[in-house]
């Protein structure tokens, strides 16, 4: 728990509570903003107009979407397991929200700093697999089950190179705490010293979010909607929400691990150490937000420009290319670090 306490007049609010609240709200809102952004950007890329009816510039479109989803009929297919069918969509949302706890949004602006934060993130991510698997299983449909199994296999496959890429970051930081990792990049971003790890991590983040070019799970031509073929109403909405939250988290993690977190490049050179705490806080948060927005944009950009892989290509890329590459990258960095120290 962040020990810092913020005193505003007579109120003494612990910083962690503020970060928790703001973080959660931005997580939830990110989905809405991203849906709108995705549509507009897609339209721009495809030379269309995009949503522009609801509100100014179509800004209220996400709200209308949510309302629509809420008012739809909730259908559970026959012979499906009703309870599992209802539980499955909740899992990815919950696991996505849980990751907010360990991420630092600025110097001192974090909810909690636990000893095994990186492993915590991996553990939470690995629990997300249950959502898709169970959704596929509970729907009693061929497409759903195959889609669920495919999604799960793909997610676990890309978790490993991701873990190894993070391991190569930990070699340099010597700590599993995200706060330490963020702090250690005040001079050199990890991207500058470990570019291969960064690239691997980015590819894995794309694959983890199950979006094009890795959206085999819902490859429409083969599997209709994949594991959520049989979902409607808000249950479907929650899978949708989780997908965009994963994009958001992916961007946050890319930023935190490899692109300097809340630091400007080579910040040590020109940011004075005794900067006003409020000013510093605002600077950190805006730098962080900007970077995250950039990566969200990249996610959307890639989705609308790159075609989909075949499933066996995806698996081959994960196991036969990225995993050995990430392990070799790890070993090389470890060797260099060991013999230069």
């Amino acid at each position: 728990m962040n020990p810092a306490i913020l005193e505003i007049g007579p109120l003494a609010i612990p910083v962690w509570a503020i970060v928790l609240g703001v973080g959660m709200i931005s997580y939830l809102n990110s989905a809405a903003i991203l849906v709108y952004a995705e549509r507009r950007i897609a339209a721009f890329i495809q030379n269309r107009v995009g949503p522009n009816r609801v509100g100014p510039f179509g800004l209220l479109q996400p709200l209308a979407d949510v309302l629509k989803l809420l008012l739809k009929e909730d259908v559970t297919p026959t012979h499906g397991y009703k309870k599992l069918h209802a539980i499955a969509p909740m899992i990815p949302v919950i696991t996505a929200l849980l990751s907010v706890a360990v991420i630092p949004f600025g110097a001192g602006l974090y909810v909690t700093d636990i000893n095994a934060a990186v492993l915590y993130l991996l553990a939470v991510a690995s629990l997300g697999v249950y959502g898709v698997t169970l959704a596929g299983w509970a729907s009693n449909s061929k497409y759903s089950l195959l889609g669920g199994l495919r999604a799960a296999a793909q997610m676990i496959s890309y978790e490993l190179p991701m873990g190894m890429a993070v391991a190569s970051v930990i070699l340099m930081t010597g700590s599993l705490s995200l706060v330490d990792i963020a702090e250690s990049q005040s001079m050199w971003w990890n991207f500058f010293v470990n570019p291969l790890g960064a690239v691997i991590f980015i590819i894995c983040a794309f694959a983890e979010s199950n979006r094009t070019p890795f959206d085999l799970v819902e490859a429409e031509q083969e599997l209709v909607g994949g594991f959520h073929t049989e979902y409607s109403s808000m249950k479907f909405g929650m899978f949708f929400l989780a997908e965009y939250m994963h994009v958001f988290i992916g961007s946050i993690l890319i930023t935190t691990f490899f692109f300097g977190s809340y630091h400007l490049p080579f910040a040590d050179l020109y940011i004075p150490a005794d900067m006003n705490i409020w000013l510093k806080g605002i600077l950190d948060v805006s730098v962080f937000t900007l970077k995250v927005c950039f990566w969200c944009f990249v996610f959307i950009w890639v989705r609308w420009t790159i075609p989909r892989f075949k499933y066996n290509q995806v698996m081959k890329l994960g196991w036969a290319r990225l995993l050995p590459l990430s392990i070799i990258n790890f070993m090389v960095i470890a060797t260099i670090m060991y013999f230069t120290n």
Binding site: N115, L119, A123, T133
Partner: protein, 169 residues
């Protein structure tokens, strides 16, 4: 506070263990086992073993149980129709044996609780990643390398057993 948390987790752990054993549906059983493992991770936290708590979720719930689920789904294992259809000697023996083990272990535990120490004060430092790293690769070097052999052997063996071999020649 901690005591209430402990009771909650304990009830969750034991309840899910029981539910796992008496549930007819295999997928449900597997999910109850996952709940059991997650609540065990919570109990590890109460014991200040923070690193292990995370590992428990990562490896058990996130990897081993996923493998179980995959196999259940691949094989489409059917439900057991009759779990307690009729009285069997086997069930009786099973309960006797289970009760005997519980009784015996309770008895042994009850005999020694006074002698065992209170929770160690330096425990918060012991459960960390750094502490584990310090001994794992020095004192426990041999088991560490044996683990690699064990895992490789398991992978090779499992592949050999699971794949359908077409006879040579």
């Amino acid at each position: 506070m901690i005591v209430y948390l402990f009771i909650l987790l304990a009830v969750l752990a034991i309840g899910s263990a029981l539910a796992m054993v008496i549930n007819k549906n295999v997928v449900n059983s597997a999910l109850f086992l996952v709940i059991n493992m997650v609540s065990l991770a919570g109990i590890y936290l109460l014991l200040n073993a923070q690193f292990l708590a995370v590992i428990q979720i990562l490896v058990y719930a996130g990897a081993i149980m996923v493998l179980f689920l995959f196999v259940i789904m691949l094989l489409n294992v059917e439900d057991e129709e009759k779990l307690f259809d009729k009285f069997r000697v086997k069930y009786f023996l099973a309960f006797i044996l289970g009760a005997a083990v519980v009784g015996q272990i309770f008895y042994s535990i009850a005999g020694v609780t006074d002698m065992l120490p209170e929770i160690s004060s330096n425990m918060a430092e012991i459960g960390t990643v750094e502490e584990a790293g310090d001994v794992l690769y020095t004192k426990y070097l041999l088991p560490f390398e044996m683990t690699a052999i064990l895992l490789t052997a398991a992978v090779v063996g499992a592949l050999m057993v699971a794949q359908y071999k077409i006879k040579k020649g």
